[in-house]
């Protein structure tokens, strides 16, 4: 019999970039995945992660049957039975401690579209305000930093830029196809400036690489403000018409001379001047992008706000070739924040980090651990985790595991037995991105797409079906009235005037609007004042400084002799996304294991060589890990880097869950004071392996 071959077009969700893909099938089985040449974002190009989705979908370790923890270990259980039992336990716990003792936690492992909002909808319908997610450790600080200044997070117009400035961002590994836009701009003469302590992949192509000390980005940004003002190179018209707080900026920037910036950041004064001139010379066509590198610091949001100010100062904001705002498609709202406001129930962390909850409706995951372990501020007893692995990705893993294990009920939906699933009461099989149909938008290109359910497994539920079935068992079914995900998609799409059929016929996406710069200048920025806020009344009212003030990282300000190294964690690697894909054998042939990146002079001083195992110790804990001796230009002396997500050398055993950015509540994970110990075989070497 002839084999039946076909190609189905959809979007990749191995990372957040949503590249267009051609899924090649033979007799209904996926055999390969290639880039869709008609897709505006990736134009046929695709990183190798996407092709390896085949390995993920058909991985022998996929969880395809619901599991229940019993005294004798895992026991397979029928889905309906599992949902009945989970619903009964939730009802009982909610009855005893109140609905707010139940939380949901959304992660990235399944690759969500609007399904994030389903989790928010479910927990609110249940009467609990406690929605937790990975966003409170990645993304939200940048969103807050830019939104506090500009009223939104503008998208860089890379292709029309004359000068691209990347702050703590490494697109080749974090957003692979963004790289082709950057190199294309360079081929047209644009200058690339990369601010990063390490010589990242993109820094290899930088015209100027500022390898500053981790967490000192704010000092460099203020130094650039100082220089641009000194040079008279700021956009006087834009500043006069569209900003508030400029006089205070002038006054505060005065201290940030190139020499002072050199002293604080380690970036030579001549380089500070050169960056300012390159930006001023290209203004207003300066496109800046900030990555996750700036988020995990105690002064993170203010550092990001200081960087954001530069766009307004140069008149590069809301401008072609600079950065400008792109709206999302006008889909229906799935969340219930307006219908069922639950702020009075004290969303976890909202009192201590009001900005995070106010602007993102995110609860604070580190505060959730306190609630579980110490009933502080109230008991949190049950959690439904979908596609998240906090046991590996949240700081202070030892405490996270202790907390998760002490819950009365932990339900985890995932593709694999993650570190988090391993301590659950119930593990439910989840559907990968190739097994669901949902709506996705590319705001940059103003296109909306419908992903396709390419394959399926018997008994494996999609996200919608799961929340729907659980909701109906708990008496909140009226919040989930749609029969299936297609009915839901149709409802969501209605206000756009587009039909599902139209989207299905155009897997490369359908345009929903047009993004042109200039609208915000004309109609006002979406801040309280309608202007770009160099100073924020909103923050002042909450007790913060109105200016994005700069504070030295603790390791610079008060060096700790016992912990002389500064550790960056979480630098991206091409083949892995957070704690995912470590179980794909072909990835391991390329990047086989964890390592601590180290400058050669530090390796010499410590007497270690490439591959030697060391113990990296912080005040939180320790981790055993092999050394990777870098080239001198790749990492500064005294600085180390460990990528997160490795089960056998989990760096979050040593990151802090009690030192936060005061505005966003983000934990300190990228400037951790540590020491390195050689010789790990002794009795004191315990505790390194999760």
């Amino acid at each position: 019999m002839a084999q039946e071959r076909e190609i189905q077009q959809t979007l990749c969700r191995m990372c957040d970039d949503r590249c267009g893909i051609d899924v090649h099938l033979e007799d209904g089985r996926i055999i390969d995945i290639l880039g869709n040449k008609d897709h505006l974002w990736n134009r046929g190009r695709l990183c190798v992660k996407a092709r390896a989705a085949v390995d993920m979908v058909y991985h022998p370790d996929r969880i395809l049957t619901p599991l229940k923890r019993t005294g004798g270990g895992w026991q397979e259980i029928a889905l309906e039975q599992a949902l009945d039992e989970i619903a009964a336990r939730l009802a009982e716990i909610g009855g005893r401690h109140g609905p707010r003792s139940i939380a949901v936690w959304k992660g990235e492992a399944i690759g969500f579209g609007q399904q994030e909002d389903l989790a928010r909808r479910f927990i609110h319908a249940l009467g609990s305000p406690n929605y937790l997610s990975n966003d409170s450790m990645c993304y939200a600080s940048r969103y807050l930093g830019f939104t506090l200044v500009d009223g939104g997070w503008p998208v860089p117009d890379l292709e029309n830029s004359r000068c691209i400035v990347l702050w703590g961002a490494n697109p080749p590994f974090a957003h692979p196809n963004m790289t082709q836009y950057i190199t294309a701009a360079r081929r047209r003469g644009a200058t690339l400036i990369v601010v990063d302590p390490r010589l990242s992949a993109i820094a290899r192509r930088a015209d100027i690489h500022a390898d500053l000390r981790p967490g000192t980005d704010g000092a460099l940004a203020w130094g650039l403000v100082h220089q641009i003002v000194e040079m008279g190179a700021y956009d006087k018209d834009f500043v006069a018409r569209h900003t508030v707080g400029f006089p205070r900026v002038l006054e505060y920037a005065r201290a940030f001379t190139p020499e002072a910036v050199e002293k604080e950041t380690g970036v030579p004064a001549t380089t500070v001047r050169a960056i300012a001139r390159a930006m001023a010379g290209a203004a207003p066509h300066v496109a800046a992008y900030v990555g996750n590198g700036l988020e995990h610091h105690e002064n993170g949001v203010n550092n990001i706000r200081a960087v954001a100010m530069l766009d307004g100062l140069l008149g590069a904001l809301d401008r072609e070739g600079g950065t400008f705002f792109r709206g999302a498609p006008p889909l229906r709202e799935l969340t219930l924040y307006d219908d069922v406001p639950l702020t009075h129930l004290g969303p976890l962390g909202a009192d201590r980090f009001p900005v995070l909850y106010d602007k993102r409706r995110e609860c604070h995951t580190m505060t959730a651990m306190e609630a579980i372990l110490h009933d502080d501020p109230y008991p949190l007893r049950a959690m439904i985790v979908t596609g998240a692995n906090p046991a590996a990705t949240n700081p202070n893993s030892t405490k996270v595991l202790e907390a998760l294990e002490s819950l009365d009920l932990l339900v985890v939906r995932d593709l694999f037995m993650s570190e988090t699933a391993a301590v659950a009461d119930y593990v439910l099989p989840a559907a990968s991105f190739l097994e669901r149909t949902e709506l996705h938008a590319h705001a940059k290109h103003q296109i909306v797409s419908l992903t396709r359910k390419v394959v399926s497994w018997p008994g494996v539920q999609g996200e919608y079906d799961f929340w729907h079935d659980l909701a109906w068992r708990l008496g909140i079914g009226d919040s989930f009235p749609w029969d299936d995900e297609t009915a839901l998609n149709r409802w969501l799409l209605e206000p756009t005037g587009l039909s599902l059929e139209e989207l299905a016929a155009h897997p490369e996406g359908v345009e929903y609007g047009s993004a042109r710069p200039g609208g915000w200048r004309e109609h006002g920025f979406e801040t309280p004042s309608g202007k770009v806020e160099f100073t924020s009344e909103y923050l002042k009212d909450l007790g913060f400084d109105e200016l994005p003030v700069y504070l030295s990282p603790a390791y610079v300000d008060e060096p700790d002799q016992e912990y002389p190294f500064v550790l960056i964690t979480g630098a991206r690697k091409l083949l892995y996304l957070h704690s995912r894909f470590r179980n794909i054998p072909r990835f391991l042939t390329a990047i086989p294991g964890p390592e601590v990146e180290m400058h050669p002079s530090d390796a010499v001083a410590l007497g270690v060589k490439d591959g030697d195992e060391v113990r990296v110790v912080s005040r939180v804990g320790s981790v055993r890990i092999p050394v990777k001796v870098m080239s001198p230009s790749e990492i500064p002396p005294g600085t180390l880097q460990i990528t997160h997500g490795w089960k056998d050398a989990n760096v979050n055993l040593i990151t802090h869950d009690d030192r936060f950015d005061p505005i966003s509540g983000f934990p300190l994970m990228k400037s951790v004071e540590v020491r390195v110990e050689k010789g790990t075989r002794g009795p004191d070497a315990l505790g390194g392996v999760a």
């Binding site: 190798v48 082709q180 003469g189 290899r204 192509r205 001198p632």
Partner: protein
């Protein structure tokens, strides 16, 4: 005929191309099997992608005593027929760029065959440093890149003053 053109000034040595090629050859990401090779020199920050140019006058093809190397009439790719290859390694020596390598297990020479006309290295190059284009187009792109480099140098030169 279309060729794989490399632009070192756009390459970030991410190794997507090597992994994609290795996958096609071997089913895994072991770089040793890749026909395209990217060398990265951190101190110079130089990324050098190199792959077969399918020379019009191909040394490997001319020198092969077993007539195992031929040109595909459709794609123009210079290809090794491993069933004919005697493993004498003359082609390795004949290629001035080191773009033919030797598979010790199978005892045959291996090289780029343009994946039958849709090279996977290019499809996986998210940096846009590899292009699969006609020679004329490649020249235009190169000229633009040289111009851009000059413009950038002038811009930076102004910035340094």
């Amino acid at each position: 005929m279309r060729i794989v053109v490399v632009d070192p000034d756009s390459c970030v040595a991410c190794r997507n191309c090597e992994y994609a090629c290795a996958y096609r050859q071997n089913g895994d990401f072991a770089r040793s099997a890749s026909h395209i090779r990217v060398n990265f020199y951190p101190e110079e920050r130089a990324c050098v992608p190199l792959t077969c140019m399918h020379c019009a006058k191909a040394g490997c093809l001319e020198v092969c005593p077993a007539a195992a190397i031929s040109r595909d009439p459709e794609t123009g790719a210079v290809e090794v027929d491993e069933t004919r290859c005697a493993g004498c390694k003359m082609c390795l020596l004949a290629c001035p760029y080191g773009n033919v390598h030797f598979d010790k297990v199978a005892s045959v020479s291996r090289k780029c065959d343009l994946c039958g006309g849709d090279p996977m290295c290019v499809r996986s190059c998210t940096a846009g440093a590899l292009q699969f284009v006609e020679a004329d187009e490649a020249v235009d792109r190169r000229r633009e890149a040289v111009d851009a480099r000059l413009r950038r140098i002038l811009h930076l030169d102004k910035a340094e003053k």
